[in-house]
Point group: C2
Chain length 227, copies 2
């Protein structure tokens, strides 16, 4: 039943998005792919952790072993490769039903690559915060910046950077206006001297190597965000 309800919710949200914007380059329901459904159904089976520390996002979040890296059995990976901000919203209520202690969000780069307008992505960030505050008021919210990309790998064309900066500025602003929300600037920590995602941390211009995850974890630890 739960599976049916989330799929219905996904379709409903997707249809809503289409209704608002009749002809986007690629409509929002693109996130409902087999892998998305597999992971959502898994997450529903796993949802018993108390005081969870939940990492929500796309392939960049999905790619890490958070519990193992942070030696933290209540750290939960809720990254889904390919996900976008609307896909996160469609599965957010399931996550909030657990009343997690903390939520770390990183989402947006796939929205950009699907030509979803910045305003809609930012609207989804705001809805993420609004709904979390409503459904789980004691959950601490961490909005992590979208990471830079590196166009020298040629796989991921870097017309992204302007949008990334717009999204990150918007997240910082959301956090400034809400004491329950913290913005974490990872973007500037992953840059090389030319303003691109440092090659030490990536082998394709978008995804992270092990050293990238070590840096990410060290920023979360040294910032005291995991306490």
């Amino acid at each position: 039943m739960k599976k049916v309800s989330i799929i219905t919710a996904c379709l409903f949200l997707a249809c809503g998005a289409i209704a608002q914007q009749p002809s986007p380059a690629k409509p929002d329901e693109s996130y409902v792919r087999p892998y998305y459904v597999q992971k959502v159904s898994l997450h529903q089976q796993l949802s018993n952790t108390k005081n969870g520390i939940v990492f929500i996002g796309d392939s960049i979040t999905d790619g890490n072993e958070w519990a193992e890296q942070l030696n933290c059995i209540r750290c939960q990976n809720r990254g889904i490769s390919g996900d976008i901000s609307a896909g996160v919203l469609a599965r957010l209520d399931d996550i909030l039903a657990q009343k997690p202690a903390k939520i770390f969000l990183m989402i947006g780069i796939n929205d950009i690559s699907r030509n979803i307008p910045n305003e809609r992505i930012i609207g989804n960030y705001k809805e993420f915060v609004r709904r979390t505050r409503t459904l789980s008021p004691r959950t601490r919210i961490y909005l992590q910046s979208v990471l830079p990309t590196n166009d020298t790998f040629r796989k991921f064309v870097d017309k992204n950077d302007e949008s990334i900066k717009v999204l990150n500025t918007a997240m910082a602003e959301i956090a400034r206006g809400d004491r329950a929300v913290t913005y974490i600037d990872l973007y500037n920590r992953f840059l090389d001297a030319e303003g691109r995602l440092d090659k030490r941390y990536t082998n394709d211009g978008l995804h992270l190597l092990g050293e990238g995850y070590v840096l990410w974890a060290s920023i979360l630890k040294s910032g005291g965000y995991l306490k």
Copy 2:
């Protein structure tokens, strides 16, 4: 340095495979893709767990949250989406250097889809066992059967089944001849009445939904393999 050495090892193994079989349909080095390199570099950064329980495999292993599902902080996910048996061997020494308590292997379906001959896959299973026994003699080895597929989804054509049965029979035989090795028959537990991967457990004929991972975990628990 470690990263360089594993890439060198991968290339060396791949070249070796090519030297033995000059023109396979798709040569073995196909596993050295960006995602493979990302995960191997992450695993190298994570390699400090004592008495680890390591799940090694491809996307089917990769897709689960083992530590969370089994409530087991020493359970480590070493699945890499797209991996084949040669790719497992290329990263096995890194894993064995930790002297894990247990290793659970599930590999072979991508070998089959790449038209790698059964004999070579079985040879790689034997090499996996031989090398584990040599480099980490106290590690308990669990050879998990390759799961069935379901051709009614049409994405993954099910000419696989004959090869899957050959591989599973071979693994059972390897285990019969070695007290340090246990064969775990998952295959028959995932079948429907028509001899296909049951639709309760999959939405694409190959990968698992949450219910599939629940079944898998319950088989491991009820068999006493995790103790």
